[in-house]
Amino acid sequence: MIDGAGIVGSDAALTAVAEAIARDWGERGIGGHFLGCDLNSGRQCGFGADEPVALASVAKVPIALTALELIDRGELDPGQTIEIDPAKTSPGPTGSALFGFPARIAVADLIALALTVSDNAAIDLVLDVVGITRVAAALAGWGCDGIQIRHPMRTMFDSATRAGGGSFELALELAIAGPPGSASAIEALDPQRGNVASARGLVELLAAVWESRIATPAACAELRRLMSLQLFVQRIAADLRSDAIRVASKTGTFLNLRHDIAVVEANAGVRVAIAALTKAGRRATHAPDVDLAIGSAARSAFEALRG
């Protein structure tokens, strides 16, 4: 069960929604953090929203925004091509991470691959060009103190492989056994060493992007466009997406972590930002009911928040 002390709700009805989601997740053996926020009214509901959580591929969002800002300021050529060397690329199941032969891809296209199909190799190549210190400086400049980007995607793969001694089952076991907030045997899961943010930090980032308050307006617009082309729609979008409701999102999946952040937009200017960060206590690679529990939570929160 999720710690009841962390429940937030702008009014009694929203608190009840947050409690219902926390209860449902608890019954399914899902530990997690959730925050929904109506960008127009500022009304919120959620729980555990301030605890820093390892981000997995959600980290691609601030890295991409840093690169998009550099492009818009003329400091990075979007057409500059990068060599894809299959022997060196970061591992992953999609996009250029699957390439078996050398290729050249432009920076702007690598960003698109990273955000739409969660291409690990693509974002690590973008990060090589941008530099991790520039991402950290950009986040500090945007006032996103709660978001820490410290390593490329490859570090997740390397630290899990190392900690598990090559055994995926052992790595998963270590991820499950690690108490929340404590130092983990897997570097990428450690709040002190990994890429981390709280649900609140992520919702604030989404709010700032959707209101074009950070980076540049063109960079924000491009990030919004790419996130709206998201191919992984099994979580927040699962029970919301229709012709009337648009979801722009980015998932994160690693070991027992299943995350999704999104802005859900509907007609009449409705915009609701949602961050759902989960950690399941089970040993399985696929957990369709966890994905659906996130979808169900997102729908409840969206319907309660949009007013």
């Binding site: 591929s57 199941p93 995926f168």
Partner: protein, 323 residues
Amino acid sequence: MTWQLIAIRYNCAVELLAHLDALVAVVDAQSFTRAADRLGIPQPVVSRRVHNLERVWGQPLLDRTARASTPTPFAQAVLPHARELLLRAERLERAVSSARKGVIRTLGVPPDCPAPALARLLQAAAEHGLTLAIRELPARSRQEALESGELALALTRVTVERASLRVPLGLAAAPSRPGPSGGAWHLDVLRPRRGSSTPSPQLLVLPEDDVEPFLDRLRDEVARAGMSPAGIRVDPPGTAAAQVLAAGAVLFCDRGTAERLGLGWAPLASRTLDRGYELTAPASLSEWMVPLLRAAVGGVPSDYAEPPESEPVDPALRFAASG
């Protein structure tokens, strides 16, 4: 402190046990009168024993201001130890009495074995010159009783791969629930369909399966089938059957148990969850006992074969963040 010192302090150790027995009885019954009734001794004796303990320990044990006699925090701290001591004394007593009678050996078997099968086991024992007593206990209790020496012989749970005796496990469901289409249950069919408001059925297991290696494996199989392992619950057969009939739960059990409970049953398609047993007994006994025990628990020969490996995914990719 040695037993000698304890005996001097309380006059003798047997007295200590009688005193602790009185204290535990009063706490459990929440009344001196009811405790005396239960112990079959006069109420003043019960009161004196509790009072003696308070005197020796120098601490009040019962809050007598409340209407019911409730234990003080001090009593609550010592009570678990008192219970432990009484339980061990009881085991000692049983071991003494069976040793006194001579060569009676107690065999632990799973609960609810059919009586004719157990009768055949007793007959065979007599023919082999062995006086056998049979105790039905769930798996975890059998293991504990074997370790404490209460049982001389026991059918113990082991993983199905190492077992000399295998009991096929299946799912018992209400007769109204349609059975599996291929004659065997694949766990993933229990997942609720997308868009349906019916939740996953409650997954029940019997006390016989309440052992960690089995539960751990079951949790993994349930998770692999795309369901939450958090909802697996252990229930005794009666309650479990009621849940199955009235609330749409499904019960992991053997065919015999399902038939006794009047529930529909079909085996699981995968054999990895089958119950595995090993007879903990001298080899001279195992030879004739194992076939009889196999019949008693509804076992089949241990012809367990590892399931074929499925097409491997790139193992390295499993470590990569995906999506």
